[in-house]
Amino acid sequence: MMITDGVEDEEKWLAAGIAGLQQNAFYMHRALDSNNLKDALKYSAQMLSELRTSRLSPHKYYELYMRAFDELRKLEMFFKEETRRGCSIVDLYELVQHAGNILPRLYLLCTVGSVYIKSKEAPAKDVLKDLVEMCRGIQHPVRGLFLRSYLAQVSRDKLPDIGSEYEGDPDIVTDAVEFVLQNFTEMNKLWVRMHHQGPQRDKEKREKERNELRDLVGKNLHVLGQIEGIDLDMYKDTVLPRVLEQVVNCKDELAQYYLMDCIIQVFPDEYHLQTLETLLGACPQLQPSVDMKTVLSRLMERLSNYAASSTEVLPEFLQVEAFAKFNNAIGKVIEAQVDMPIFGAVMLYSSLLTFTLHVHPDRLDYVDQVLGACVKKLSENGKLEDSKATKQIVSLLSAPLDKYNDVVTALKLSNYPRVMDYLNDKTNKVMATIIIQSIMKNETRISTADKVEALFELIKGLIKDLDVTPDEIDEEDFKEEQNSVARLIQMLYNDEPEEMLKIICTVRKHILTGGPKRLPFTVPPLVFASLKNDDLVEEEASTTPNKIFQILNQTIEALSDVPVPELALWLYLECAEAANDCDLEPVAYEFFTQAYILYEEEIADSKAQITALHLIIGTLQRMHVFGVENRDTLTHKATGYSAKLLKKPDQCRAVYSCSHLFWNDERDSMKDGERVMLCLKRALRIANAAQQMSNATRGSSGSVVLFIEILNKYLYFFEKGNPQVNVAAVQSLIELITTEMQSESSATDPVANAFFASTLRYIQFQKQKGGTLGEKYEAIKV
């Protein structure tokens, strides 16, 4: 209730003030038009009296002030005209001082003063000095601030500066600086005084109002920033010390924060570098509640950008020992501000790190130092749970990755993993993912076992469960994580077999700690990373291939813990094939043995059995390293498995596929026509049995497709010159099929029809080819 009353009242007072102002302005205009100086002064003074009010908040006072300001411009022009008409400016200057009340008097004085300076009848510095001191007469904060602001505004373009028309004697710049500094100091004092005025309960409201006025004070610093005559020396010796003195001594949190920030924004980066010690030295002297981390961060950010803008400025940074100074200052601030939350400290180190990466990118020791200081601070708190702080740390740790685009460089920072130790599990994983993404994006190769070791230490959050009781994790997320680890493994290699072996061992060591959940994702990439490295497996006169295969054997074995027998079986067969290429018969045999054991003991699902057999037969067919005995054993087993599949059609197909085990087209020694035929005949028997079963259970014979498939196989071996697969055999099978298809009990099967038709077409086609092939086929009647 009270507040709305207050606002309503303020509106009323403002309206009244504006009305009064406008009324007097009207009369003032009349006086100006009729060149009536006396009246002009009278009405302008009355008009300015409206600014004597204490009732308005700064925001509203500003509205009134702006109108007065506009009117005073007209008055100023009038004064200028008057002097041209012969009125003495000195007299005018004296005349206005007869105004009854001090505030109007001073506004008028400043206005005349402006004209006085322009007339150059007295040195600018004298007039300015007079004005700035006279303004001391107003000690009310709001009124004083606006008055001095007016003074600053009208004097702006009349400051004696180098190249300005108001140059006087050699020390001109000093005078300008002195004027602005004085105005600034007085304004700051008034501004701070507002804090202490009024009852405690309105403090918050007052601070808000104070905040609205801050730019009035800050403007002075902007003006200083634009005075051309201020060189580095003057800044160092006069300007900065005086400003800092006021900032420190006013002991006001709001003022200190704002003004420090102002200094940083207004003056050139070059100056900051050269006065770093002084500037940073002021920081611990400020009120403990001042948000120093933001101030310092901003300063470091500015200087980082400065460094990034041109390589020529970098030596300067070294020369002033910028890094050491910042490092020190931050340490002191963190020490002094005991209540600073942890994320604040991390933010400071993060800014310092960014600064270091920009300014001294080649100094890894500096980067490591910053991380070390951060670790020290973190060690006081234990693992971080605060989300703001963890975000800052992720930002801190990502910075070197982004800068160097090379994880290997980050791996050299000894404190990097130590910082990660303070992250909770969730954030650890996030960071690990960021690291992996950086590697993948930049296609970084990690080429030594040491680096791999260091890397896996960093990403251990993804490699294993860090907690004894891990949190529930979304299955999709988990898969994504592990797949990214799988991708990472592709980036770890070295062309040197010795080193590659070490890398494989290191990776293996780590992934085995991952537990059954992770192994199906991590084992295959490791196996293939080993196998695809040709040199590794084909090195002659070296023990490395054997070692590798041993390791792979043991690694695949670990999959039995999961268990994923199919995957393990496929991998054993891949290894067998690789061993085959290395001519390592015992090794290849061992892998086949393992595969077969898995088949017999672990693969019960029919569909899986079929796929497994395809792979077994396919792989075995390509093996050339086996001696007769070994080959026979493995082949015998394979055909045995084939015949024992559950469904007859599957049996049939697997068995006729086995026929290829007895025939290797490239080696005459491996062409056993008889056993091929035995296989095919066996397949035929199974196909027959399938037909009979179909008859018995469904009343009609099943599809003849199997027979057609076997026929195609006959033709295959017929063409290859297997003496056992002769014309008679082919012919009788064709007749069998034809009969079956025409028989009444068989259902019309369009698939079989088309298949048979195209097979017969093929035979015709071969006949027409002529030559030995044509001759062969000639005998077959279709």
């Binding site: 993948m440 797949n483 293939f528 690789a578």
Partner: protein
């Protein structure tokens, strides 16, 4: 006569039927990703059908390919994560019947005669298979057998040096132009082969 409609008809005939055939990516077991040069070429909206021989191996790859073209046909490779893919698939595009199979089921692996048998059995003009990671385009009396190779150049115990490759088929009436894209020494090389089909019979020459 409505001239506008006529024009539309004419335009419809000019519509491209592009079929992307690829497979054996083996992501992430053997390779981290498709080669960047291939990725930049494979843009959504340009392809009408995708045929994938298998061994993607993870859902992420499936989703990526699906984003290039919603009409996707996949067959099962032994390392594929999803157990629901079929062993073989047939589909008709324009005048052509196509068959897809990963190829580990056809023994001996890579043997063209044995693949031709599968082709006859499926009764298709074009058979697309993989597993060997080696590009092949073979025309025989019964049709065409295409192996698009490995799109990522993944390691295979069957092939010594694998270059990343994939196939784009431009099917137009009774004619199909097979473009094969291979990444050799960092450069994309394109080759093309023409096949025509005789309308009245099944065979493709």
């Amino acid at each position: 006569i409505d001239f506008a409609k006529e024009g539309e008809l004419e335009q419809k005939k000019m519509v491209l039927v592009l079929v992307l055939a690829l497979g054996d990516l083996h992501i992430p077991h053997r390779v981290a990703d498709l080669p960047p040069k291939f990725k930049s070429m494979l843009v959504p909206g340009k392809i009408q059908h995708i045929i994938c021989t298998g061994n993607l191996c993870i859902k992420e790859v499936y989703d990526y390919l699906k984003s290039l073209c919603p009409d996707m046909h996949v067959t099962r490779g032994e390392y594929d994560e999803d157990p629901r893919y079929l062993e073989t698939k047939t589909l008709t595009i324009d005048q052509f019947k196509l068959g897809v199979c990963h190829g580990h089921q056809v023994i001996p692996w890579g043997d063209l005669d044995s693949l031709a048998m599968l082709q006859k059995q499926l009764d298709v003009d074009i058979l697309v298979t993989g597993h060997t990671h080696q590009f092949k385009a073979y025309k025989h009396e019964g049709g065409v057998v295409i192996n698009p190779g490995s799109a990522t150049g993944a390691y295979s115990s069957l092939t010594y040096e694998v270059n990343p490759s994939f196939v784009l088929m431009d099917i137009d009436g009774l004619r199909v132009v097979v473009y094969v894209y291979e990444l050799i020494d960092g450069e994309v090389k394109v080759d093309k082969i023409d096949f025509k089909k005789i309308a009245t019979t099944h065979s493709t020459h």
